[in-house]
């Protein structure tokens, strides 16, 4: 039983890798579906923004409030903006954005493509002379790859604003001082790797959602399974990629 599960795992990993390979092959074939891409930008990028914004704001606020007592113990309360900004920018904002998007976008794509698959809409596209892989998968994967970094940057800004409010609940940090300290602390080594990794997060979320949706079977029940496993696998991948990103930036000496 265990070995069968393991074999399934290996099978699926290989399948996902081949799917990714196909993505890159189709990516460079002519006729890019611009209209569908813009439509997806709206649904994936714009529609996820409120959710990402609220989460980022709350995370910024909460992290700041939670960090204060420890810093106060050290008498280093004035370091609050510095500490909070580093943890938000380097880790929390990008990962929270990616996880929220894995939940919202990953399941959305998984369910959408899954239902298209079981209701033969994907076959219908194929018959209608439109490459469904290009029309559905390539556009969505590119959209997630491009939109999640954008959402992450906005989440960075919003979470820092949340941090500013959090720092002012018990203490007083002026607007200017807060931002001065934040930008004094942050270096390119904090910002650039954290932005770069969100591109990979976005790509992983898109490719897993599309893979799961595109390979749905077993009818309506399969749609639910596709949406669910898309969320589970892409969330897990976000963490794995995050681990890799930390190690790579460490090796490159950017930490």
């Amino acid at each position: 039983m265990a070995s069968e599960k393991f074999q399934n795992f290996i099978d699926e990993t290989g399948d996902i890798a081949r799917f990714t390979g196909r993505f890159f092959k189709e990516l460079f074939k002519p006729r890019f579906e611009f209209n569908e891409f813009f439509r997806q930008c709206f649904f994936i990028g714009y529609k996820s923004f409120p959710l990402v914004a609220i989460t980022a704001f709350i995370m910024g606020l909460v992290i700041t409030i939670q960090s204060r007592p420890t810093l106060v113990e050290f008498g280093a309360e004035s370091w609050l903006p510095r500490m909070v900004s580093v943890s938000l920018i380097r880790e929390i904002a990008p990962v929270i954005t990616a996880l929220i998007c894995a939940g919202k976008i990953g399941s959305g794509i998984g369910a959408e493509l899954g239902s298209m698959k079981v209701t033969e809409q994907i076959d219908a596209m194929e018959v209608s002379g439109t490459n469904p892989f290009k029309f559905l998968v390539v556009t969505r994967v590119i959209t997630t790859t491009l939109m999640i970094p954008i959402l992450a940057v906005l989440a960075d800004a919003i979470s820092l604003y949340g941090g500013f409010l959090g720092a002012n609940i018990h203490g007083v940090v002026s607007w200017d001082l807060f931002w001065n300290q934040v930008f004094d602390t942050l270096a390119f080594g904090d910002v650039v790797p954290s932005i770069i990794k969100t591109y990979f997060f976005g790509f992983a979320i898109g490719i897993i959602g599309c893979y799961k949706g595109f390979n749905t079977n077993k009818g309506t029940e399969g749609v639910g399974i596709a949406a669910n496993s898309a969320v589970v696998i892409s969330s897990l991948l976000v963490f794995i990629l995050d681990l890799l990103a930390v190690q790579i930036t460490d090796i490159l000496g950017l930490n």
């Binding site: 002519p30 079981v118 209701t119 033969e120 809409q121 219908a124 596209m125 209608s128």
Partner: protein, 258 residues
Amino acid sequence: MNTELSIQNDSNSSNTSDLVVCIRNLEKSFGENHVLKNFNFKLYKGESIVVLGKSGSGKSVLVKCIIGLLYPDAGTIQVLGKNIPDLNHDELDRIRVKVGFLFQSNALYDSMTVRENLEFPLRRHWIKMDKEEVNSLVMEALGNVGLEETIDMMPSELSGGMRKRIALARTLILKPEIILYDEPTTGLDPITSTEISNLIVDVQKKYNTSSIVISHDMNCVKIVANKIVMLVDGTNYISDTYKELQKSKDIKISSFFK
């Protein structure tokens, strides 16, 4: 075996230019499940053949092989003189313009309006049309199914019968020479089912298309079929007209005509 031979003899005697679909020794299996075994089939211009069989007898697999959505394991599928499994993507695409496909579940794009659904087959890169041409084609196709007023509605706002008719309109928009109907009346009430069946016949007459209809709805089969091919255990069991088969004493055949 006798039936198979008779079909082959038949093909030799008739004019091959009228032969639009010719399937020989088609084999298709999914793992251990041999869905199609040594299947042979012929469709002549203007004919309307119903493929009759139980659920899971491989009817849908058959039409999907014809349109190139599935690759057969063995055998040839000649459609308008070209062997489908040998074609590359672009050549297949050009054949598909001449072969319409009405999906069992309609396969209307949920996220698009009726107009966008109908325009979708026209977005092939080698079809160049201006807006007015596209619009007139859309209106003509909708007119054929009598649903012009739904043009800006979403598929989810339509009833089952309307969706089927929109799907048919989408199939018709490129005026195909052959239309494949995959269970066109499944899930519809008898009255709507009759309407759709009559519509299929009207379309057949209007555009002089050849049709392959997959169905087990005898009401529909009665209206549509010129000839019936029985698919039993993955192979063509018998081929005859509705009237002849109705008289048959064979339990495998008569079970459909109750």
